[in-house]
């Protein structure tokens, strides 16, 4: 059997036993059916919902009956709803402050853990510990810890850190940002630790021979060499906090009032509490669009070859 051009997938699949020419084998001689199960599940439960959420944002649906066409009314409603507009503002604050809080700590901690200090093993084990808790567990634990009557407030100084931290609309969002940081810094520190370990020791030796100080080593060797790690970690941090749900849902439920109601929570509450799935889908579309745009932008920054090979950066 001879393969004709253009190569149809069916022809490839049926030819894999009979096509004998070695050259032809190399050209697409792998059976297509190998990719089918993954493509099917991924397409059905990830790609199709992505299209579906766009469709549902033009529908009216209470979550039980049948969705009916509603045109742009859901979008008009969402974009004029003060709660959702405030959720967008809160989300920007949440994403930016989370990043400013987590990134430097993760970098310093990771660089430190990769060094040769005494006690490093102990430090690495202990700082890993938050990773063994699920987000739900972290949310519940901190809710108890920050309880105004029986929690840490009896130990903490009064003033900005005193009183009912989670019940105060002015401070709740920053407390949430702190707890999210507590939970996620260890993961990013691990990324940086892994990144630092791949920096050739010769670079440090050369710089040291040239008389570089510790700070100069950090600034002119470590930071530039960690370029890809910084971009990867930042992408995960920014896109991650954009879509952050579990921990805040458990910790504050979006409250007090709507002080911590960031977009993913707003979407959940709009959809599964108020049963307006169309409006919730419109919020979902906004989330997906911003998330995709941020990923693509950061990926562009990292160079287009990034996805092609892990070796690209070396």
């Amino acid at each position: 059997m001879t393969l004709t051009t253009p190569v149809s997938t069916g022809a490839v699949a049926s030819s894999h036993r009979t096509g004998e020419g070695p050259g032809r084998r190399r050209k697409g001689g792998v059976p297509f059916f190998m990719v089918v199960p993954a493509a099917l599940v991924f397409g059905l439960f990830a790609l199709l919902p992505l299209a579906g959420v766009v469709g549902l944002s033009f529908m009216e649906w209470d979550g039980l009956g049948t969705p009916t066409w509603a045109g742009l009314s859901q979008w008009a409603g969402v974009l004029s709803n003060p709660v959702t507009l405030d959720a967008m503002r809160l989300t920007v604050v949440f994403v930016v402050v989370s990043f400013v809080f987590q990134a430097p700590i993760s970098l310093l901690l990771g660089v430190f853990m990769a060094g040769r200090q005494r006690n490093r093993a102990l430090l690495a084990v202990l700082s890993f510990l938050p990773l063994v808790f699920s987000s739900a567990a972290v949310g519940i634990a901190f809710k108890a810890l920050l309880d105004p009557n029986f929690g840490l407030s009896s130990v903490l100084p009064t003033g900005w850190l005193g009183g009912n931290l989670l019940g105060d609309p002015d401070r709740a969002l920053y407390i949430v940002i702190f707890v999210v940081g507590w939970s996620f810094v260890p993961f990013h520190a691990l990324l940086y630790q892994a990144g630092v370990r791949q920096i050739p020791a010769a670079l440090y030796e050369a710089a040291t021979l040239d008389g570089a100080t510790t700070f100069q080593l950090f600034r002119f060797v470590t930071i530039p060499q960690l370029r890809y790690t910084i971009i990867t970690s930042s992408t995960l941090m920014l896109v991650g906090s954009l879509t952050y749900f579990d921990l805040i849902f458990v910790l504050t439920g979006g409250g007090p009032g709507s002080a911590t109601r960031i977009l993913p929570l707003d979407m959940y509450l709009t959809g599964f509490r108020s049963y307006t799935m169309g409006a919730a889908s419109a919020i979902g579309v906004i989330l997906a669009a911003v998330g995709l745009a941020m990923s693509l932008l950061l990926n562009r920054l990292s160079g287009s070859g990034r996805m092609e090979s892990q070796q690209a950066g070396l």
């Binding site: 084998r25 190399r26 059976p31 297509f32 190998m34 990719v35 993954a38 059905l44 439960f45 990830a46 199709l48 919902p49 992505l50 579906g52 549902l56 979550g63 700590i105 901690l109 660089v111 430190f112 060094g115 200090q117 430090l123 202990l126 700082s127 510990l129 063994v132 699920s134 739900a136 567990a137 519940i140 634990a141 029986f150 929690g151 840490l152 130990v155 507590w182 810094v185 691990l190 990324l191 892994a194 990144g195 020791a201 440090y204 040291t208 510790t214 890809y228 990867t232 896109v239 954009l242 749900f245 458990v250 979407m267 599964f272 799935m277 979902g284 579309v285 997906a288 990923s295 892990q310």
Partner: protein, 272 residues
């Protein structure tokens, strides 16, 4: 040559360590208190009369069932993800048709899709498929959202295997299944372990899918059970924190047993 001590990093590291450890200490000591002692003693004091009452209460309230559900969902998701991703990666790396390259890009696009944004259509589909409130309702979407990262990691590994190895097996008359089993599988084992750890942890900890796609306590998984314990035990904070502690034990055990694998699993695919 020894690197110089990083003073700035060190200070931040030790300060952060204190912040890390205090809440964990609090969780554990509080779970060992009597309910009455919780109201009387300071939050960070050593329990005056440590007790396992809270743990007994949690076990009497279906903890083992939730644990088993989590285990089933996680194992099924990881196993299927590994098999279908390895097969797909084999095609995506070895096929030279333009369609394969486009398909790889489509899979990688999935890395940027926020799960939250798609939850409403997923809910709709699961209801329509008659899977609502069942374990498969959790397994199928978990696999779908695990495939992009798995394919990325496995493809990167398969690419580094010289094409001659595949060709020579072919010439010897091996089928694709045989090549997959005897060549691709052993050589990508580190990648598969990494994917297994990473996907396993994500599925084990997942909260949103169970919250939206299940309802009955018979299909409840561990993270969601923590939330329901919180309502159930209302003022019994030691019991809630005992459940939190217990929920961390499996991951902690995995860390103790396979520390190297777990850490590389968490960082692989994202490293430089």
């Amino acid at each position: 040559m020894r690197r110089k001590v990083n003073v700035l990093g060190g200070l931040a590291a030790w300060l952060w360590l204190a912040i890390t450890v205090v809440p964990i200490y609090y969780i554990v000591v509080t779970s060992l208190r009597k309910q009455s002692a919780y109201f009387a003693e300071g939050p960070l004091s050593i329990p005056s009369a440590p007790t396992l009452d809270a743990y007994r209460l949690v076990f009497e309230n279906e903890f083992v069932r939730y644990f088993a559900n989590s285990l089933i969902v996680t194992l099924a998701s990881v196993l299927v993800t590994l098999i279908v991703s390895l097969m797909a990666s084999y095609y995506l790396v070895r096929s030279t048709t333009p369609g394969a390259a486009r398909m790889l890009r489509l899979f990688l696009l999935g890395l940027a899709i926020p799960i939250q944004a798609t939850i409403i259509p997923v809910y709709y589909m699961i209801v329509k498929l008659g899977l609502y409130d069942s374990l498969p309702a959790l397994i199928l979407p978990s696999i779908a959202f695990s495939i992009p990262i798995s394919v990325l990691i496995i493809v990167n590994f398969l690419r580094d295997i010289p094409g001659e190895l595949f060709e020579s097996m072919r010439v010897d008359g091996a089928t694709d299944w045989r090549i997959l089993r005897s060549l691709a599988l052993p050589l990508t084992r580190p990648a598969l372990m990494t994917v297994g750890v990473y996907v396993g942890l994500n599925v084990w900890n997942s909260f949103l899918f169970p919250l939206i796609l299940t309802q009955s306590s018979s299909v409840r998984v561990l993270p969601l059970s923590l939330w329901t314990y919180q309502g159930q035990f209302a003022v019994n904070v030691p019991a809630v924190l005992a459940a939190v502690t217990l929920s961390a034990v499996p991951v902690l055990a995995a860390y103790v047993v396979g520390r190297r694998q777990l850490v590389s699993g968490l960082t692989a695919g994202f490293g430089k």
